[in-house]
């Protein structure tokens, strides 16, 4: 077991965002967290990555308690995340952006006077990551000038550049056209393999993506886990499908299920 959440509760005044969420993540799993808006998905990610302290409950990473330790210590331990709304350094070039992650991973900051530009190791590592995500051609472009999709990719790539063991992706394909979504997912999966990421947890709304790539699906609704299991199990669970997924998707999935069973 690599990551586990134990009875997480989080409220904002009267509003309960998480009402007792528990689950475990094992090495090698690709997990999708689904749920309608307001179900608590982003809050869950924020709590898992230590940005928020839960009112109750604990989070464990490889037997170590990491509840609320904060993003910086978390990234050193081997957990990284990407953001739903693009979170970037607008004035950095693509290469510089990735170098931030590399520099902190390799612990290079201690040497105040070492020249970054001449540092082969850092530059090469950054290029490797850039290539994995198809950004190496644009390495000297300023982040703020990149197209929206590339900005998103860069945000994700920088998290990958930390060589984490577990990565949490908050809606990695949101804001991207449907035809590009698969390309992005393929990039993510192959990059994870090359870098050696052990487990991926993503929050995702697109059900095609969710059902195609996940080993396991966790359905969240109003701050509680509605269901937790393999895609085959989830798609047959009427309550989950209709509550979490919505009526339109309902029919799509049932139709797919029916087609498959025939």
């Amino acid at each position: 077991m690599i990551l586990s959440a134990e009875d997480l509760h989080k409220h904002y005044g009267e509003f309960c965002a998480l009402g007792g969420v528990s689950f475990q993540v094992y090495e090698g799993e690709f997990i999708s967290i689904i749920g309608p808006n307001g179900a608590g998905k982003t809050t869950l990610i924020n709590v898992l990555t230590g940005l928020l302290k839960p009112n109750q409950g604990r989070v464990f990473f490889k037997e170590m308690e990491i509840t609320g330790i904060g993003p910086e210590r978390l990234s050193r331990l081997g957990l990284a995340r990407s953001f739903q709304l693009v979170n970037i350094f607008p004035n950095f070039t693509v290469l510089e952006f990735l170098m931030v992650a590399i520099v902190s991973r390799l612990g290079k900051v201690k040497n105040f006077f070492s020249s970054l530009l001449r540092d082969q190791e850092v530059t090469e590592e950054a290029l490797v990551v850039a290539k994995l995500f198809g950004l190496d051609e644009k390495r000297d472009m300023l982040t703020k000038n990149l197209p929206q999709g590339d900005k998103k990719m860069l945000d994700v790539a920088s998290a990958f550049a930390l060589h984490p063991e577990v990565i949490l992706l908050d809606e990695p394909t949101s804001g991207v056209s449907t035809s590009d979504k698969n390309k992005i997912m393929e990039t993510l999966v192959s990059a994870s393999k090359k870098i050696g990421i052990k487990s991926i947890i993503q929050v995702e709304h697109d059900m095609d993506i969710v059902f195609s790539y996940s080993d396991r699906i966790i359905a969240l609704h109003q701050g509680k886990i509605l269901a937790d299991g393999a895609p085959e199990k989830i798609e047959k669970d009427e309550e989950v499908v209709c509550t979490v997924v919505g009526q339109k998707e309902c029919f799509k999935i049932f139709r797919a299920v029916l087609n498959r069973e025939n």
């Binding site: 990555t49 904060g70 993003p71 910086e72 990234s75 050193r76 990284a80 995340r81 953001f83 979170n87 970037i88 350094f89 607008p90 004035n91 950095f92 510089e96 170098m99 931030v100 992650a101 520099v103 902190s104 991973r105 290079k108 900051v109 040497n111 105040f112 006077f113 070492s114 020249s115 970054l116 530009l117 540092d119 850092v122 000297d140 472009m141 945000d155 920088s158 998290a159 550049a161 930390l162």
Partner: protein, 327 residues
């Protein structure tokens, strides 16, 4: 995008112009009046201070409205050692100033870097004014509002007391200060080009994302604070013998405002911007002061103009002109 040849051409142009500029400044006392050389000397001291200040402001994104505190620490150290202890070795004075300022900056910084923006500005202003009241009220120690005299230091062990004051200041002291400016500017260049510099810029642009990438936001802000405090102390210690008298006004919040003004005027987004701002400010102030006693009004107007219309300062205006000519 630029190709390799363009990049190296630009780099050589930059280095050549720096060397030419440096030689020009070096030889300045030979072909200008003593007064202009003296102004340049004060600029060197302020230049060191604002180069350090911009590490905090331009590169880390923290506006300190109390930075003159560290300049005053350096200045008072020089005054103290020369007049109260008759100790004149400049190199030791500088080292002591750096140590005292760094310790103070470490303490104050540890408190202040937990806050950002307005709160950081307010906290640093408060510390600056706290030091002001201390300097003012403990007059048996500090000379109160009359301040303390600064006696002529020995440079590299040499005693120059035989030479008339202006000749010393525009001669050996000028070269000494210029040399320090050159060295310290080079050191700062190394710092901002280092991994630490990259992390500071990341902290400035997006502290949340920086944290997620493993950057220790508070720790590095603290580093920047201490380094910039040390630089300010060196600047202050070098300024003191030039002005001959130190007084609590050196740490009044409006003096901190002057440091910010210089940095903004020259351009905080450019490495050499603060230097440009410093020299323009000092010479412009001298010129305007000779024309009218209401120079603050004019400078206030300049600052307002910069904040509203030209936040990148002079350096910013130059680079956007260059960019426009290219396209």
């Amino acid at each position: 995008m630029r190709n390799r040849r363009e990049v190296t051409a630009l780099k050589s142009f930059r280095i050549v112009s720096l060397v030419v500029g440096g030689l020009f400044l070096l030889g300045l006392p030979l072909w200008t009046s003593q007064f202009i050389s003296y102004l340049m000397l004060t600029f060197f001291a302020y230049a060191i201070t604002v180069i350090g200040f911009n590490l905090l402001f331009g590169y880390t994104g923290l506006l300190s409205f109390g930075h003159a505190l560290f300049m005053a620490v350096g200045a008072y150290t020089a005054a103290f050692l020369t007049s109260k202890f008759s100790f004149h070795y400049m190199e030791i004075i500088l080292v002591v100033a750096v140590i005292v300022a760094s310790l103070l900056a470490a303490l104050i910084g540890a408190i202040c870097v937990r806050y950002i923006k307005i709160y950081f500005a307010m906290l640093t202003l408060a510390f600056g004014m706290l030091f002001y009241t201390f300097l003012l009220k403990f007059y048996y120690l500090t000379g109160g509002d009359e301040g303390m005299r600064v006696l002529r230091p020995y440079l590299l062990g040499f005693n120059f007391s035989e030479i008339p004051k202006m000749q010393f200041l525009t001669g050996s002291y000028y070269l000494y200060t210029f040399a320090l400016l050159a060295v310290l500017t080079f050191v700062m260049w190394k710092i901002v080009s280092s991994p630490l510099g990259l992390c500071l810029k990341a902290i400035r642009d997006n502290p949340e994302k920086a944290e997620y990438l493993g950057v220790s936001v508070r720790k590095y802000r603290w580093f920047a604070f201490v380094i910039s405090g040390a630089y300010a102390a060196i600047g202050g210690a070098l300024l003191a013998p030039a002005i001959g008298q130190v007084d609590p006004g050196l740490t009044y919040w409006t003096h901190s405002g002057t440091l910010v003004f210089m940095t903004l005027l020259g351009g905080f987004e450019n490495f050499l911007g603060p230097l440009i701002g410093g020299v323009v400010y000092i010479f412009l102030q001298d010129k305007v002061m000779s024309l009218t006693q209401y120079w603050r009004f004019i400078f206030g107007g300049i600052l307002a103009f910069i904040v509203i219309a030209a936040p990148g300062g002079i350096a910013g205006m130059i680079s956007s002109l260059v960019r426009r000519r290219k396209s």
